[in-house]
Symmetry: C2
Subunit: 529 residues, 2 copies
């Protein structure tokens, strides 16, 4: 009988905490990729179970495990809190998942330079709360902050809700300690000359190295905030105002633009406190929703047009400035004066304060949607301002043929911004109807068609395929479109340089090597293969 | 007879502009590395002459030349305007220098997103002036702006005088088109997910790829400025004020702190208009200077102590804020109020305005110093604020035993800053005196001892070896101290991934592969080898 990988690991490196218990293997079989929820809803929980899980407690243990994996050619997938949404974690029974959540130490806090060296398994919200008590903030507030780790943020190149002021995680990392695919420990500093290697590891999603600790830049905890909401006749009026604001040098911690439908939800306080029916469109039952969503095209056209704008009350921008003394209020007044020249209507502090109260609720909205026989997902793309109109229209149209779409813009920069599409759907009329497929599989067909069309539209418009959710196996097959063949080869060469045997999260991030399978097939086909 | 490399290039790829004229080969034999000036002063101009020079006019030509170099295993050194100071260019007669100054096109200017795609050979000052006429600024003002190119800035990871507001060149680059060591053209975008490869090429000093064009972020040309100078009792009082200012969120375009001696020069307007005797200490002849500088220790101690501070008038901080309307003046007043609590004495606008008038004069100060039988150089190191005192004292003491030292701080950040040491020396008493060496060689001995001691001190204090002058062959042998052995291996693996035959500027950036030659030898020994 062949020894199973986890048993061999336990025998070769005694003293580690490991498990190949069936319940643990199911628990670590996936992240929050919505497509996989469809498989689970169909009762398929056997797929993608790893060989086992290992919980190291130190960099030395991580290095020994990776060295062992290198010697035995056993693939390893690092794991934080499992809240990724792009199938960055999708193991099989030859893979060992390495959960880093037992590595949570603060190695050093330098109050003078305002930096913190913290291990990868540190969870998001406790970190921020502990920093607050010491007078600091990291300034990183992903909506997943309750279910994500520092290591996960770095691996996935995360952006938080206050990126306008504090930047993305890549702007916060001054040094990384990590273990590369040979088991060697390498510490990368934000040096000031020569190439900077930190950006190679940030966003590499477990394929270049396993991050064990990060030195993060801190900020003083802000003592004052200023809030405002503004409506605009259309979404485009809203983003022109966002552009003007960022190009004028204003840096709101939070600036969010909602299209008319998303704005209507935001105004009504879409996420209810008890969470039980969060995510539902208020007032509609599951059956009615399923029926409407089987033909989403007309609904999208209606709500996205001028009529919809009028009906729903236009687009909405919320702003929160934060800092010291009266500076936030002064900045807000400058933004308000600017917006007043751009067809804005001031809506008071309410919308922004309401948003702040519910800022982390979104991560709990998936379950009831799926329970209603529907599916939902999000797609965040980005482009320079000059390509934004084409990207917005193109992706909206492509998705809108298959699913119901709404959009908001929550990360803006002087040169461009991210568009965040939220969509909900069900098996569309006609999709897989004569194939003998069950409901969940028919949902998968519609889901894949929507994604395929949307990614093609994003590429066509000159946008990126992602902004802060990462690449994962869900977008990897299409990366050649964005990077170009030369870019894919360059990244592949880098992966080989750090992980010569390809044991770190294989299959993630890049398209497979076989000749151009990503050019025409639906992305899910290769993920399954 | 063996065909020489340039002749073969001209034969294999007809139509290119090339030269192996003796005068051209001397002209392209080096950059502005001061140590090499000593060799030239000794009459040695034959060393380091390349096989020839090629001037491509397009990315396609660059790619064809590199492909040819790959096939024939001919090393290539990309060349901008030759103003590097760390021996990033130091060819030999088997090397072809590729001068990119015929590639100067603006490929596209996106006024909405505020970006410019410009080829590598574009010279600095004309670029900024042309942008100004269109209402923009790049915000990049290295003191070498008159003698450096966009490609050189990117390759060397340059910082300009306004880095406090606009950042270093790495903060300005949104995309790079480059040719890797196989001759393939790769375009790297500042994407938003997955690893970011741009930082690999920035600062790689011609070893990873030849940059052919860059997409740069632009800013509106500022319409107003505010100026101020402040004196402080000591240099440390000055940097504590700089730290407080940056940590309070203020972002002066220019903030410079001078130690008492450097401050005295700045107050007197050290760089005279005619430039003829620029760089000399006012009022002293060359012979007197040589005599004083043979025993610099006592002078350094005198001027760096409390007595010197008193004699020379303390340290000096100059600030320039820039932007729109009254914002610069408001920010300046905030800084002034902050400084007032930290033992600052306001000195009016004069020192800052005077600095602005002479901002680019420094690149012309070397020649008269060397003509006087002396040498001068600069060393820019960086550290977190918490290590700054140790770095400042350590490097100052180490240099001060061999040369006369002054210092200023011209690039600050919330978490730390750069210290810029300027030093001048001559053959120190005792150095090489019984070796039969000539004056210039004895100068080289002192020069090498000063550098060796200073780099050891910077490492000892936990600082970096460089901030914005790059690594070059002058610091490459010591990079293992800063990167660690694992870091050097990682960078080496990356270079191999992009340049499998090692034809791109070989010998630059990293220590040689032989076992740890960089640990004990003077850096120059390996450079010669």
């Amino acid at each position: 009988m062949i020894e199973r990988p986890l048993q061999r690991l336990a025998r070769d490196l005694p003293g580690l905490r490991t498990s190949d218990d069936a319940a643990d293997r199911v628990a670590y079989a996936r992240d929050l990729w919505p497509r996989h929820h469809l498989a689970v809803r169909a009762g398929n929980v056997a797929q993608h179970r790893p060989a086992g899980i290992v919980w190291p407690t130190s960099t030395d243990e991580v290095a020994r495990i990776v060295r062992w994996a290198y010697d035995t050619e056993t693939p390893i997938v690092p794991f934080g809190a499992g809240s990724g949404v792009c199938a960055g974690v999708l193991p099989h029974d030859g893979i060992i998942v390495m959960d880093l959540k037992r590595m949570t130490r603060w190695r050093s806090l330098d109050e003078e330079a305002r930096t913190l060296d913290v291990e990868s398994g540190q969870m998001g919200l406790p970190l921020e709360e502990d920093l607050n008590r010491r007078g600091f903030t990291l300034g990183h507030f992903p909506s997943s902050i309750l279910c994500s780790t520092v290591g996960g943020w770095v691996a996935a190149r995360s952006a938080g809700q206050c990126s306008g002021l504090y930047g993305k995680i890549e702007d916060m990392v001054l040094a990384l300690e990590c273990v590369i695919g040979t088991g060697e420990v390498v510490t990368l500093h934000h040096r000031t000359s020569g190439p900077n290697l930190i950006p190679l590891v940030i966003g590499s999603e477990g394929t270049v190295a396993i991050v064990t600790s990060s030195v993060l830049r801190l900020h003083p905890r802000p003592s004052t905030r200023a809030f405002a909401g503004f409506s605009f006749p259309t979404t485009e009026h809203g983003w022109e105002a966002m552009r003007a604001m960022f190009q004028a040098g204003l840096r709101p911690a939070v600036s969010r633009l909602y299209d008319p439908f998303d704005a209507m939800l935001a105004r009504r306080g879409a996420v209810k406190k008890d969470g039980a029916d969060a995510g539902k469109t208020p007032g509609l039952g599951a059956a009615a929703l399923r029926s409407i969503l089987r033909r989403p095209g007309a609904l999208n056209e209606l709500l996205d047009g001028a009529f919809g704008s009028k009906l729903l009350g236009g687009s909405l921008v919320i702003l929160i400035f934060e800092g010291e003394g009266d500076a936030p209020q002064r900045d807000l007044e400058q933004a308000r004066a600017l917006f007043a020249t751009m067809r804005a209507t001031y809506e008071g502090e309410g919308p922004a304060r309401k948003w702040l109260l519910h800022r982390y609720s979104v991560s709990y909205r998936q379950a009831p949607v799926f329970a209603a026989g529907l599916f939902s997902d999000t797609m965040e793309v980005a482009a320079p301002w000059s390509k934004l109109r084409a990207l917005y229209d193109g992706v909206r149209r492509a998705l809108g043929e298959h699913v119901f779409v709404m959009a908001h813009l929550s990360h803006a920069y002087p040169d461009g911004c991210c568009i965040y599409f939220s969509f909900a759907g069900t098996a569309a009329k006609g999709d897989g109807v004569n194939s003998g497929a069950g409901w969940d599989e028919r949902c998968e067909i519609t889901y894949d068609r929507a994604w395929k069309a949307a990614m093609a539209a994003a590429i066509e418009a000159g946008g990126t395929l992602a902004h802060h959710h990462g690449v994962g196996r869900s977008k990897a097959p299409r990366m050649a479109h964005e990077l170009g063949a030369g870019g894919v080869d360059a990244v592949r060469a880098l992966l080989r340089a750090f992980d010569p045997k390809g044991i770190l999260n294989p299959g993630n991030l890049l398209p497979p090597c076989s000749p151009q399978p990503y050019l025409d097939d639906a992305h899910a086909t290769e993920v399954r293969a």
